[in-house]
């Protein structure tokens, strides 16, 4: 894969939460920023998300969750990715995630957490930089770590 190939992103809504204004806005903004975006729609189980990510061969998964079920669902997705040998896929989260959970999720391997008020431009840049880093070096992309305090 050369770095001129468009970045493929899966935007997904895990759990029962039906509020997908944010997910759709992000999907469209990332598409406008030149990425190839697949949106799963609502009510996706962790297994469905991992499977779609595999089928669509994405390098980024953006999870949008506002129901508070993140600490149950996101670890399952990370585990599922590992089992499919997809741990290099960059996982980012948008939604209402309390600070202490953000820290725990970053520890588990989530690349970035974007809270209310984060701009689509900021998220697009985060993805591009992370993927560029991954394409030139070996191993998972480094998280900038800055997004956290900004969005907390």
């Amino acid at each position: 894969m050369t770095s001129t190939n468009p970045i493929r992103v899966l935007v997904a809504k895990p759990g029962l939460d039906g509020h997908d204004r944010g997910a759709k806005v992000i999907a469209r903004a990332l598409r406008d920023a030149g990425m190839e975006v697949v949106y799963t729609g609502i009510r996706q189980t962790p297994q469905m998300i991992v499977e779609t990510a595999f089928q669509e061969d994405v390098s980024v998964i953006g999870l949008s969750i506002l129901s508070g079920a993140h600490m149950e669902l996101i670890p399952q997705i990370l585990t599922g990715l590992k089992e499919r040998g997809m741990e290099e896929v960059m996982v980012i989260i948008g939604g209402i995630i309390p600070n202490e959970d953000q820290a725990a999720l970053l520890e588990m391997g989530v690349a970035g957490v974007f809270g209310p008020g984060a701009s689509t431009e900021e998220i697009g840049t985060f993805i591009k930089e992370g993927i560029a880093g991954a394409r030139t070096s070996v191993g998972p992309p480094k998280r900038s770590g800055k997004s956290q305090e900004k969005d907390g």
Binding site: L16, G18, H19, V25, G68, E72, L73, I96, P116, S119
Partner: protein
């Protein structure tokens, strides 16, 4: 017949009301002692245009209000939406709010309850008690409503695809408290169409869902006459990104679909129209929002009278609940949210709301704490008792700007409704993803304006300050889920499982036929069948809605 002048209105519309019900004060006056009249109108003669378009409160087309003296008689119902963790915890919050002067209940259910999964279902994991109270069986509902007098407190329940089940449980608790069904007063949201468009808690495909809705209309018309059988909601569509025009248009397009569905089942329009209520957001643009509520009343009155030929004035009246805008809350500088919600609450009051929920400052970060909910309730109380805005009716009526906005919102919303009519109605338009696309377009435009700073959000894209994260955010104990599952398993063990099986079997037969489903659902809940079991029976008969993705 609408009045042609203020004297006639006073004699024929206001005075008969005052003979029945006293106002909050004998004399209303400003802080300087100037007497405040119930209503101010243009100099006589006002002209035919005024009478037809604006008119008098309590009279068609109700632009100025549904009651002749509005909040001078009775203030709006202060109804804070609450529910989380467990039935006990939520019952405690309800009592706390009632003790602090709240005048009605509003129940938030968790997502598994809203989508018809029991707390031990695979898909319920991590969701139990998170965004509302978990209700699996009548046992939970009994705990939730413990010590709350259902003959005196009115209750609103935000529940849609499982609305008949939760209404059946409420009725069962009422019966156990010895309350006559005719005395039960409240509202179920029961608005499935906006779930497909924006909120996402649907279960079944549209046709059987509409049947469940109209079954409730029929049942309540006979058995629970004071119940508002639906709360047709623009709120969630607006929160998903719709403009004020789209909020009006899509709400009324949905309302038209419900009225048509009810008429098709043989109900008389005046037999159910009085049970239809509405739910709108109150957003930041104060004067546009006031105009929106005024336009909404006029539009509904005309739709009911001209399109559906309703004859009863009550059928023409749009009564609505308002809630401040969740999307306007910022995680940054959360104290600013108190100012935002105050402006929004003011808009709802000036717009003539029947009941109001004020969001809390910490809700961009989590569920509200007890302190922040109390501040929301106090916001309502300050507006009610200190601001004086409720001492006269529709105080902004006659403002050139507000009247222009009222006309313009109505005109543009009617154009959308024409488009949807041309497509074959709400359900047909839904099939094309029309409303979703319009809303997404508006949401994306809004986001771009914020990012380009054409729209300033204080503390977010301008006037940004470094600040420590907000402390004291409410967290639901993760152990609650396990306790709820244990409680559910205990009910399953201890109930008469033979009775449950036969009640569910009976429901299945009714669902396969055309009979009203409500009596069979009442039987099921009284036998302690679970929300999940009842929903599964209906899933097996009706099928499940496929999630469509429109981006």
């Amino acid at each position: 017949m609408p009045s042609s002048n203020k004297e006639q209105w006073r004699k024929e519309t206001l005075d008969p009301l005052l003979a029945r019900a006293r106002e909050r004060k004998q004399r209303f006056e400003t802080d300087s002692g100037i007497e405040v009249e119930p209503l101010y109108t243009p100099e006589e003669p006002a002209g035919a245009e005024y009478t037809e378009k604006v008119g008098f409160p309590g009279e068609y087309p109700f632009t100025r209000g549904v009651q002749p003296n509005m909040h001078r008689g009775r203030l709006w119902t202060m109804r804070q939406y609450a529910g989380f963790a467990s039935a006990e915890e939520s019952n405690r919050r309800f009592r706390y709010l009632l003790e602090h002067g709240q005048t009605g209940l509003s129940i938030a259910f968790d997502l598994p309850t809203q989508i018809g999964y029991d707390s031990d279902h695979q898909l319920a994991r991590g969701e139990v008690g998170k965004v509302g109270v978990p209700i699996d069986t009548l046992g939970d509902m009994e705990v939730l409503l413990e010590g709350i007098p259902l003959d005196r407190v009115s209750t609103s329940m935000t529940i849609n695809s499982t609305a008949s089940i939760l209404l059946a449980m409420y009725i069962a608790v009422g019966k156990r408290q010895g309350v006559e069904l005719g005395q039960l007063n409240g509202t179920i949201q029961n608005d499935i169409l906006k779930e497909y468009i924006a909120r996402g808690t649907y279960i079944y495909p549209p046709a059987p869902s509409m049947r469940l809705v109209t079954d409730v209309f029929h049942y309540c018309a006979r058995k629970v006459p004071r119940w508002n059988t639906i709360s047709i909601s623009g709120y969630h569509m607006r929160e998903a990104g719709a403009t004020a025009v789209q909020e009006l248009a899509f709400t009324f397009a949905n309302a038209i679909a419900y009225v048509e569905a009810a008429l098709e089942t043989g109900l008389d329009v005046d037999g159910f129209a009085g049970g239809l209520s509405f739910f709108f957001v109150s957003q930041n643009n104060l004067l546009e929002e006031v105009a929106k509520f005024r336009a909404a009343r006029r539009m509904w009155a005309r739709i009911m009278r001209e399109r559906f030929h309703a004859r009863e004035p009550r059928s023409w009246m749009l009564r609505f609940h308002a809630q401040t805008a969740g999307v306007s809350l910022t995680a940054q500088q959360p104290e600013n949210n108190v100012v935002r919600t105050t402006i929004q609450a003011l808009a709802a009051i000036l717009g003539g709301a029947q009941s109001l929920h004020v969001n809390s400052k910490d809700e961009a970060l989590g569920l509200p704490t007890e302190e922040s909910v109390q501040l929301s309730l106090r916001t309502q109380q300050v507006l009610a008792h200190e601001s004086g805005v409720s001492d006269t009716v529709d105080s902004l009526g006659g403002s050139h700007y507000v009247e222009h906005l009222t006309d313009e919102l109505e005109r543009q919303a009617l154009r959308y409704i024409d488009t949807i009519d041309d497509m074959g109605g709400t359900l047909a338009a839904l099939g094309h993803g029309y409303q979703m696309r319009e809303i997404q377009e508006a949401a994306f435009k809004h986001q771009r304006e914020v990012e380009e700073k054409q729209r300033i959000i204080v503390g977010v894209n301008e006037y940004v300050t470094e600040e420590p994260p907000l402390q004291n955010i409410l967290r639901v104990d993760p152990q609650q889920e396990r306790r709820q599952v244990e409680r559910l398993l205990k009910v399953r063990r201890e109930r008469d499982n033979g009775a449950v099986t036969s009640a569910l079997k009976q429901l299945e037969e009714v669902a396969r036929g055309t009979e009203n489903t409500m009596p069979a659902i009442v039987e099921c809940v009284e036998a302690y069948a679970t929300v999940g079991e009842i929903s599964d029976v209906l899933r097996s008969v009706f099928g499940e809605q496929v999630h469509s993705v429109v981006v």
